[in-house]
């Protein structure tokens, strides 16, 4: 580009012509048009810019392809009521997944067991009793321990005796303590 300019004056004029274009001062325009060095640099710059512009231009094949796509989209938008876009499809699949996984077992446990062949997410009362028996053997099956704990209810006398026995096992009596 401007690599062989003879003085800074030349450079200033050339820059003014390049940047301002038609609106540059008449002095700068006159200088560039009469100075052979400036003219050469200006032409060279314009040539390089034109080459760069050519590089950026689309080929006819590209434009043909883009136009086809645009018209396809325009016509599809005019004609369609609903079309299977990837977004719609994935939303539908996700919706079904959520429905099957969470809603059906919650609302219809029996359906879940039959259809999905898996136990409900929520344990039944029977299974809670079994768990309670395993944790604290001898506890009344109909009254799980956690109910007494929550309500502050008094446990059965049998249960109290068992608990006393358990305490004695863990902390044996060592005589009177003060």
């Amino acid at each position: 580009m401007m690599n062989t300019l003879s003085s800074s004056t030349c450079e200033d004029h050339l820059l003014a012509v390049l940047i301002d274009g038609e609106q540059c001062s008449p002095g700068s325009r006159e200088h560039v048009s009469t100075c052979p060095g400036c003219q050469q640099q200006l032409l060279r710059f314009q040539q390089q810019v034109d080459e760069a512009r050519d590089c950026l231009a689309p080929t006819s094949l590209q434009m043909q392809r883009i136009r086809t796509r645009v018209w396809n989209k325009v016509e599809r938008k005019v004609n369609r009521g609903f079309s299977w876009q990837p977004a719609w499809t994935s939303a539908l699949v996700l919706g079904c997944f959520i429905l099957l996984t969470f809603m059906i077992p919650y609302r219809f446990p029996l359906v879940a067991q039959v259809v999905l062949d898996s136990p409900s997410l929520y344990a039944s009362a029977d299974s809670l009793e079994v768990m309670a028996d395993q944790l604290l053997p001898g506890t009344a099956a109909s009254e799980p321990v956690w109910i007494n704990t929550l309500t502050g209810g008094v446990p059965e006398s049998d249960s109290m005796e068992q608990i006393d026995e358990m305490i004695e096992l863990v902390i044996p009596e060592t005589g009177e303590q003060t």
Binding site: M1, M2, I19, E51, L56, M63, I66
Partner: protein
Amino acid sequence: MDHNTFNQFLDQWQNDIYRMIRSRVNAPADAEDIMQEVLLKLYRGLDSFRGESQLKTWMYRLVKNAIADYYRKPWWKFDWVREREFPDGSTSQPALEQYLDEQQVSALDAVLSKEQGEHLLKLVDRLSPAEKEYFTLRFLDAFSLLQISEATGKNLNTIKTHLYRAVKKMRNYLLEES
């Protein structure tokens, strides 16, 4: 707007619009996608264009917004089935043979010209974002200073300052290489 009118409009402006996009987007495939979006917006909005700004500056804003939207677009909105619409096996990158056919120039001249053009574009990439934007607008998009001011909303002095720095830097890059 009917097809013929829009096709005439495209014949006149398609190269400018594509160049505007391509100078800001590196991947040709992305540029094609963005071009498609811009053309669709133009198709819908051209009738309502009231001429408050110049057509070129309006198109520049459309391009800028389309580029920003494209890179903000979530993955599920990408047009994954794009290639299916064009089963001709062609790539987005124009082949050299096709370039030669279209430009109607000799092979050597074309290669040299293309190399020089691409070289200038690489140098433009080394400018700061603002300098690159103003340089591209002024020289590659062929905007006048007033059009740049209208398109970007910046005042003339700011634009001139950036352009002055950009051209100076370009000169230094070329000097370094020579």
